[in-house]
């Protein structure tokens, strides 16, 4: 009869206690698992989003990517970058706040994006055509709009949209440009409620009153599939030392330091708390169970059953309770994560393809490790109790009791 078999039989014998402990650990473990998914979910989701855009490098004129200024001579820079070996594609982007309205409708504040090229990685046309399609070729200002903007202004492909390159409520001498909606698109980085219109960089220049070439505030670069972007990064930095070039990894790490620090801290605090709860639950149940079985244990010791066997039996008991609960916690936590993710993604400003809870094998490994440590820690006090149990005194007390 091994220690594991003894622990298994004990778990079967004290069924109510076992079920209670497993249910408790499953619920607590589900929360722990969710905290682990949350701690890196946004980061993984963001990294996935960046990678799926197909661009490896981002060139900006300022430190960081949040607030951007136009890059002087960006068209020439883009041309130079295209000459670097292993560069596959270069896209220039410029974003400004603007106001959009239809002929007979209300005006809405939007983000106006000028793009040097169309790129199906950055957006996906849901209805109509793309900016450079033959159908849009004759248009002076073809525009793609996000679904929320299409809904807000009742736009369909073919509709006319009047755009003023100024934020709502700001007076401007710039004339309005009339664009034609060629399609409705979904943008990878756009929040679910985002009101954005994309047009060509030339049309964008017209909207902001630029006579010459329009400077982009972001240059996106993709490398060939078999090339490492590090060399291209160094080459661009050599071309324009006044600019900042970020790889996807740097962007993710920058967001990790700034944007996602709250989630990491919250998940760290909550996962530590859930571990404490799991520890207290299992340690309490084991301790109560041991106190109910002191006579049995003292008798076993009197019969010569060693401390090691009793300790390992308790360790297995703890491992069984935490292990079964921890296993149940995985599907339970996954289901809970789906619900929580749906709720959190309703927050304004969250890109449609971003998720707060993202499954990764690493989270399961950490979950298992943390619960293993919890099981071990929870068994320490009951083991200490049995190891120090005075055999004769306990037997006497049991008989008198």
């Amino acid at each position: 009869m091994t220690s594991f078999a003894l622990a298994w039989r004990t778990a079967q014998r004290y069924r109510a206690r076992t079920m209670l402990a497993i249910a408790g650990v499953a619920v607590i473990g589900a929360l722990l698992f969710d905290m682990l998914l949350l701690s890196r979910g946004l980061l993984l989701s963001f990294a996935d989003l960046l990678d799926s855009s197909g661009f490896d490098l981002r060139v900006v004129s300022t430190e960081g990517l949040a607030a951007r200024l136009p890059i002087a001579g960006s068209a020439r820079l883009a041309g130079d970058i295209r000459q670097i070996p292993d560069v596959q594609h270069v896209l220039m982007i410029r974003i400004e706040p603007a106001t959009a309205r239809t002929a007979d409708g209300p005006s809405r504040g939007i983000s106006l994006v000028g793009s040097s090229d169309t790129d199906e990685h950055v957006w996906r046309v849901l209805q109509g055509t793309d900016l450079r399609s033959p159908a849009a070729a004759g248009e002076r200002c073809p525009a793609l709009v996000t679904r929320p903007l299409a809904v807000a202004l009742a736009l369909t492909p073919g509709a006319r949209l009047t755009i003023n390159a100024r934020p709502p409520g700001v007076a401007s001498a710039l004339p309005a440009v009339v664009c034609r909606v060629v399609g409705i698109a979904e943008f990878a980085f756009a929040p679910t409620d985002d009101l954005t219109a994309v047009t060509t960089l030339e049309a964008f220049g017209n909207a902001i009153g630029n006579a010459g070439p329009t400077d982009a505030d972001l240059v996106l670069v993709s490398s060939r599939p078999d090339a490492a972007p590090g060399g291209i990064l160094r080459a661009i930095a050599g071309l324009r030392p006044d600019l900042r070039v970020y790889s996807n990894e740097e962007v993710v790490s920058q967001f990790n330091r700034n944007g996602f620090a709250y989630f990491r801290q919250i998940s760290l605090v909550l996962s530590s708390l859930t571990m404490v709860f799991a520890f207290l639950l299992v340690a309490t149940l084991l301790t109560v169970s041991i106190n109910q079985r002191l006579g049995e244990i003292a008798a076993l010791r009197a019969l010569g059953i060693g401390r090691t066997r009793i300790a390992s039996m308790l360790l297995w008991e703890s491992a069984l309770l935490v292990g079964a609960g921890g296993l149940l916690a995985l599907p339970l936590g996954e289901a809970l994560a789906l619900v929580l993710d749906r709720i959190l993604r309703q927050m304004p400003g969250i890109p449609e393809r971003m998720h707060f809870f993202v499954f990764e094998p690493r989270a399961v490994a950490i979950h298992v490790t943390l619960l293993g440590v919890t099981a071990l820690a929870a068994a320490v006090y009951p083991i200490w109790l049995t190891a120090r149990l005075p055999i004769a005194e306990t037997l006497r007390r049991e008989v008198l009791g």
């Binding site: 049995e296 076993l300 010569g304 066997r309």
Partner: protein, 222 residues
């Protein structure tokens, strides 16, 4: 040759209200194959003496030898090993593991002594047959009567072929008739060469011993 030899042993329990003297200068020896019964009123120190002889407790004064070895000089692990291989315990409340069958309860001390599985199973069958419970091997303690549980406990105590069987009020929880069966079983165990030291209030059980001792206020009085 003495299996156990206690010389002027004393046992004092420190208590918040002051030390309680449970045993005073008790000398006792149990020979191999002997059958000794100790009787006396409750609280006279019978169980304390049994626990010392059974090596689950150590005296606060005097010396205790088991197999000519001083128990005081044995480590906890060595005393555990001694109990496992040389001493069998029978308790008033049986203390069988409720989640194990009768056979598994008997197998447990053998597993601890690293007896090979096949030998364990054979010995267990032999012992359950010996105590008349061959047909109840797979029953859980909760499916057995008090007398049957005590017989399983005796089989368990004999599992590793001990030299000494110590029993603390083995008939205390049983009716007279069942107690008589248990007493007969102790006779048989002793006849097969195992020394028996039994502490009891039951005069009929004590009467079966080859040597009867009485205790009063922590001393042996006869």
């Amino acid at each position: 040759m003495a299996l156990v030899e206690a010389q002027d042993v004393g046992r004092v329990f420190p208590m918040p209200a002051g030390p309680v003297v449970a045993l005073r200068n008790v000398s006792l020896s149990v020979e191999a194959g002997e059958y000794v019964a100790i009787t006396g009123p409750s609280g006279c120190g019978k169980s304390t003496l049994l626990h010392l002889v059974g090596c689950v407790d150590t005296p606060t004064s005097g010396s205790l030898m088991f197999d000519q070895r001083s128990v005081a000089h044995l480590s906890e692990a060595e005393r555990g090993r001694l109990r496992l291989t040389r001493i069998g315990f029978v308790f008033q409340r049986f203390f069988l593991l409720p989640m194990l069958s009768a056979a598994e309860n008997v197998e447990l001390p053998q597993a601890e002594a690293r007896v090979p599985a096949r030998d364990r199973r054979a010995r267990t069958r032999e012992l359950l047959d010996y105590v008349g419970l061959a047909d109840r091997a797979d029953h859980l303690p909760s499916q057995l009567s008090g007398g049957e549980m005590q017989r399983v406990a005796i089989a368990r105590a004999l599992a590793n072929r001990p030299a000494l069987l110590v029993a603390d009020e083995p008939t205390g929880e049983l009716d007279d008739e069942t107690g008589e069966h248990i007493a007969a079983l102790f006779d048989r165990v002793n006849q097969h060469g195992t020394a028996v030291l039994v502490v009891t209030h039951n005069p009929l059980l004590a009467a079966r011993a080859s040597r009867r001792l009485a205790m009063k206020s922590g001393r042996l009085v006869e």
